[in-house]
Each structure stands twice: as structure tokens, then as C-alpha cells.
Symmetry: C2
Subunit: 282 residues, 2 copies
Amino acid sequence: LSQCYDTVTIVGVGLLGGSIGLALRERKLSRRVLGIGRDRQHLQEALDRQIITQVADSLEESVGSSDLVIVCVPVGDIAGWVVRAAAVCPASCVITDVGSTKAHLVRQVDAQLPRISSFVGSHPIAGSHRQGCGAADARLFTGALTVLTPTQASTSESIEAIRDFWQSIGSHAVVMSPEQHDALVAFSSHIPHVVAAALAASTPPDALPLSGTGWRDTTRVASGSVGLWVDILRTNQGPVLQALSRFQEVLNQFQNALTTGDWNQVESLLLQGKELRDALGN
Amino acid sequence: LSQCYDTVTIVGVGLLGGSIGLALRERKLSRRVLGIGRDRQHLQEALDRQIITQVADSLEESVGSSDLVIVCVPVGDIAGWVVRAAAVCPASCVITDVGSTKAHLVRQVDAQLPRISSFVGSHPIAGSHRQGCGAADARLFTGALTVLTPTQASTSESIEAIRDFWQSIGSHAVVMSPEQHDALVAFSSHIPHVVAAALAASTPPDALPLSGTGWRDTTRVASGSVGLWVDILRTNQGPVLQALSRFQEVLNQFQNALTTGDWNQVESLLLQGKELRDALGN
């Protein structure tokens, strides 16, 4: 593959946007990679690191000459950028994002975009608790799964184009409804975050010197950006509460078994956890 | 340091016992490292890997010629081995263990040993979810903290000798009561394990393909040995239940804030978790 795109616009050049930029540049998939966002200093850093080839002066100008627009801002801000980009993008241009929740976004976008649209939501299952384009990694998406969540208006051509894009930077793509996506990531990502934060917050500071790799692994994601995570939980409130209830149910089973000294039941619960965990490997 | 011990006996040559053996051998701290345990095949493997210098024929013979005995079997089996070793060890020999819970063990040992004893409990805060002497690592204890929990009968000479031992293989040692140790590790190790297992067990299998590093980190310890962990939870029932209540309290605060859409409170809880987690580094 080479030179799939003449011009790509990345809105928000942080960890994910920066990693996309690096992947496009290293694989020589795009002649021009334009960066745009609120923070001029971040954009300059991305330029210095050769993640983008140019800082865009305006969204209108940049998107007007783009084949592909990828919106990589925090979840709560995505819809606004998508709608603005859709208003000025050429007919051949497709638009996607990298947000961690999808139904809330798609509802907002569907309400504001025309019936036929070149926007398709994306969520690459890749990331890090580190932030910023300084942590960007051209291989972040290699082998990772990206979930595509079309809106009601997304054309099948747009879906194929966005699928091709993710595959071109090493990811494999699956299509599902925004609602299905949100229900699954509530379990696979959002509840682990809430639980890790609750675990860290409930640890007395004098227990920290006695923490080993177990505590460190289990709580690691709690150091992620608070602002990003409020946004994620806010835009996935229903599924998160459902998944949390399910988690609390299992935890209560543990508590009951521990309280009554039912060690067979403790064993059985530990085994259920181990079997599911072992299914995934390290 | 060299040749601190003529003969050391390691009872149970798994991950921890094997790592102690390797550390003693690499640092040339002991002329002879004898291994003993239930499983002859494990001992042969340890011998093949040069973790021990010899498989002991009997505990009596081995301990009778040892300067140091380290019991590295599962928590529930430690007291029996310690009492047997104490009955045959020379006056100059000291005995310790590596068990993850201490008050239960110390109660058992105190009830069976004479008033003056050469046994001092140890818990090195080091480990892995991997098991067996194949995962042994001579540097496992380097820079790690080891908690020493003397019994009422431990002599101050024994405490100093066990402290010297851990320092000789790169660990630093602190002394605390078995009860204080158990209360702290309930938070720093046992609740993270229960939570990780509950998290894994409550994840629907169809959410697994959408799991990223967050889910993997948060649930990693759940793949640890179920048998070992039943033992740990069983021998630290009270402190574990107290720590679990504290965790559930914070989790309920999350649930309430999420339910009512109190995003300021969600933010404040995430921030508490992040601050505690960031205090520890990666």
C-alpha cells in the first residue's frame, strides 16, 4: 500500500490522533497530514515530532481539501466537530472518530446531519493510560480491533472506506450497532475503570508500601485522565449502570461466601474468574 | 557478601522458593541449598535448573545440618512444616517462611512451639501470577519489601538473622505485628484479587474481543492459583471482609453518583483514585 490518501485531517492530535498520524506517515499512506485542534502548542509539538505535516489554519480550509477526516477529541466534543466537518467536506471525503462511546454520539450526529452522510463512527480498541502525542505509537493499532458503528445515514461506500482506512494502518474492523458496542464496552472497559478507581480510592495510604504487582496491575487504569473518563461514563450511563450491577452481584456472592466461610463457593467464584481471564492470555 | 550460610533448606521449591534458591546461588551466599517438598518431580526440575544443589531425603536430616530453613509452601501448610523443622533444627539455625498471611500462622505456631523459638514469619512483597520454579527469578526480591512478623517467642537474634537473610538477597525488611500486616495486605493484595476475579467472572464472553489493556491489567491477577488464593482468603477472613466493605462503600458512592447523574461527584471519585494511584508510579 502507498499513497492511499492525498490529504488527511486529524482533529485533536493526542495519543490516538498522534498514533494515527505516525502510522499514516510511517506507512507512507498520505501525502499531507493536517492537524487541527484547540491547543496550538500541542499541534506544534505534533509538527515537531513529524506526526503531522502541517498545522491547519481552519477546519473549513483543511477539510475542504481532505479525503479523510478523523476526529480524535474527547467524547463530549466529537459531535460538534463532525457536524462542522460534514458541512464543508467534499463529496469524496469520509469522516470518522475514535470515541469510546457511540450511541450518544450517533444520536447527536444523526439529529444534525443530512439523511445521507459520509460519517461512520469508529472505536479502535487500543490505547494507554498515558496521554498526549508524546506517547503516540505508529504501531498502536497493529492487530487491534476497531469497531465501526454506522449511523442510520452512513452510506455503504463510507463504511467500506472507513474499514479500508483502519485496515491500512494494521487494525481489523467489525461493524456493530452503537447500542451493542456501548453495552459490550461497559463491561470490557468502563466497569474495569470504575472498579480500578474505587479500589485505589479505598486503599489506605499506609497499605501502599505493601502493594506489589497485583495492586499495581489492578489499579493501573485509574491514573487515566479524569476529564476523559467523566465524559465516557456520562455518555454511556445506562449500560455502565447495568454492567456495574452485574459486577456488584458477583462481588456480593464473594462477600456472602467469605462471611459464611463457604470456601467451596469462594473456590468456585475464583475459578470462574480464572477461566475467563485465562481465555484471553496475558 | 559471600558464603553467609553453609547449608540452607528450602521447603517447597515453586516460584518463591525457587527464586530464593537462585538468588542464594547467584550471589554465592550458600555452599549447599537443599530442596524438599511433596512433589519429587518439582524438586528434580529445581535441581536440573541449578536452583538447589541437592534434593533432601528427609526434613530431619536436611534441617539437622542447616543454618537457615525457609518454608515456601502454600499458607495452609506452613505451620506444620515449621513445627516439624523446629523440632529437629540445631540451636544456631533460624526458620522463616514466605506466606501471604501471618496472624493465622503465628497463632498456630505459637500454640505448638516452645516459649523461645528461632522462627520468625516473613512475607516478601514480590511475586507473579505465574507459578512454579520455571518462573523463578534471582532478582525477584531485589528492591522489594519484606515484612517480618515475629511470634511472641521469636528471639531478637532470630529476628536479626532473618532480617540479614532478606537483605542479603536484595530485599529490605520491616518488622510489624502479624495483625497489622494482615490488615494492610487485605487492602494491598487480597481485595485486588477478589475484585479482579469478580470482574473477570462478571464479564460476558462476547465482550472479551472488545477488551483492551485496561481489562487485561485490571483482571490479570485473577489467573493466579485458585488453591493458593482460597488459602489466603481463608486465613485472613476478618481483615478481608473489612477491606471488602470499605471497597463496596466507595463503589456504592460511584453507583449513586452515576445513577443520579452527579458528574461532579463522579469526577471527585475518579480524582481520588487517580491521586492515590499516581502516588505509586507505574
